[in-house]
């Protein structure tokens, strides 16, 4: 846990997303699966956009995936919040289980990130309640 107060955006879990963030806090990456048609979805939402079932369950995934696209943030926005973090990488990651999510690629030179690069999840506790899933080369 950081000694300084965390000053960056933190997720505010809601009825649909709470299981995701709870799992992260326990070091698990979990995705929502529709009980009706089995479709996996992230971000979570109450009704399945495919079959409209309201029931769903959560399944842990491997945390392994590949980089689909990525950016390197060099100009911080908001400036004071991210000034100490640039350059940093945000990527869309295709998880092995067929779900896409956004996260950071860490432990990697920003200029070394490539498409299809294999990555794995690492968990970073940023507050007592919130742990963010980030990714590093695997």
């Amino acid at each position: 846990m950081n000694s300084m107060p965390y000053n960056k955006p933190v997720p505010v879990p809601d009825a649909d997303t709470e299981p995701f963030w709870s799992a992260c806090r326990e070091g698990r990456l979990s995705v929502q699966c529709c009980s009706g048609c089995g479709a996996k979805r992230l971000p979570p939402e109450r009704f399945c956009p495919k079959c409209h079932a309201a029931e769903s369950e959560w399944r842990d995934v491997s945390g392994r995936g590949k980089v689909y696209s990525w950016i390197v943030v060099r100009h911080p926005v908001p400036g004071d919040v991210y000034a100490g973090d640039v350059p940093y990488v945000v990527a869309l990651i295709d998880l092995a289980e067929g779900v896409r999510m956004a996260s950071n690629i860490i432990d990697c030179d920003p200029d070394a990130v490539t498409a299809e690069m294999a990555v794995e999840v690492v968990f970073e506790a940023v507050t007592d309640d919130i742990t963010l899933p980030k990714f590093r080369p695997s």
């Binding site: 955006p9 933190v10 997720p11 963030w21 696209s69 060099r74 956004a102 950071n104």
Partner: protein
Amino acid sequence: MWALRDKYAIVGTGYTDYSKNSGTTVLNLATEACLNAVSDAGLTPEDIDGLVSFQFNDSVPAMSVAGAMGIEAAGYAVDIAGGGNAANLVVLNAIAAIEAGLAKNVLCYRAMNGRSGFRLGGSRDMQAHGITQFTAPFGWISYPQAMAMWCRRHMVKYGTTSEQLGTLAVTFRDNAALNPRAMQRQPISMDDYLSARPIVDPFRMLDICLESDGACAVLVTSAERAKDLRHTPVYIMSGANGGGANQGDDLFDCLRWEDHSENYSAYIADDLWGGAGVGPEDVDVAEIYDCFTYSVVAQLEGLGFCLPGEGPDFIQGGRIARDGALPLNTHGGLLSEAYIHGLNHVVEAVDQLRGDAGPRQIPGAEIALTTAGAMTVGSALVLRN
């Protein structure tokens, strides 16, 4: 499918100064642009009975503008929640209202103090709700950061380069140099583009649109009424609005989008051209939504000017210059004229089709395309004189 070809027209345009600091309220900007559009059409505010705008809680309601204009009977006053994707949708909405008998003469406007007041995409909200729970905590917040992700995917898939995108920035600035409305009129070179400050790879400063204070408005009425007004009517051949599956609310709902090398435009092309009865090859001048250089490429491909992946080559060799086969963003676009969120593209198309564009006029322009949007959802119009 569009069923109202040439039944409606744009009969007036109005705008304020575009600046970094208007020194006045958004309500005043909206009212000024709307009054200018009304008088441009040769009408008076008493003739107006509808107003449509779009905004992100950064503007003033249509009812307020009606009040400021002294309009007593605004039978239709609607505010669409949306960004650039709605900049042509407002015109379609005006037509729908007139077609339904809710109004006769409808103003469409966009007004914002987008530089001195509320700056889009600079959220300081440290509480990430809704879908932003899955974006903002990773420092993925601003519009340039969002669109850069799409651009990168196009680069990965097709080998698109920054230098290819630079042609758009350089060409649009060249056009803006001839536009008295434009905020940025100093020509730039490819070297200027390539040496501009990196903001968020793959975007440099000159890939990114301006931030502007200002307002513009267009006045829509039936073709029947348009005939008796001051200017040659600019007829709306067709319009389309929409996107693909999982379009959501555009910005960060792109998490659910399948293929980020294409955008909304691929999904409205058939309706747009089918409704107009013409195709991309018939367009004399196009004002394409350019919040970023790259978004123009995705729309040229999506609307069928070229095949997917061919856009970066298509825009080279002078094709998009004023004397080329497809002059683009003759006002300078969002990149160099101003960021009036895409409605300024419609104003420019009307200028071109009336022959009122002065030194940047495309000779003999008869058919114009305007587009609005860059990501999962958007709208477009085909116009003629």
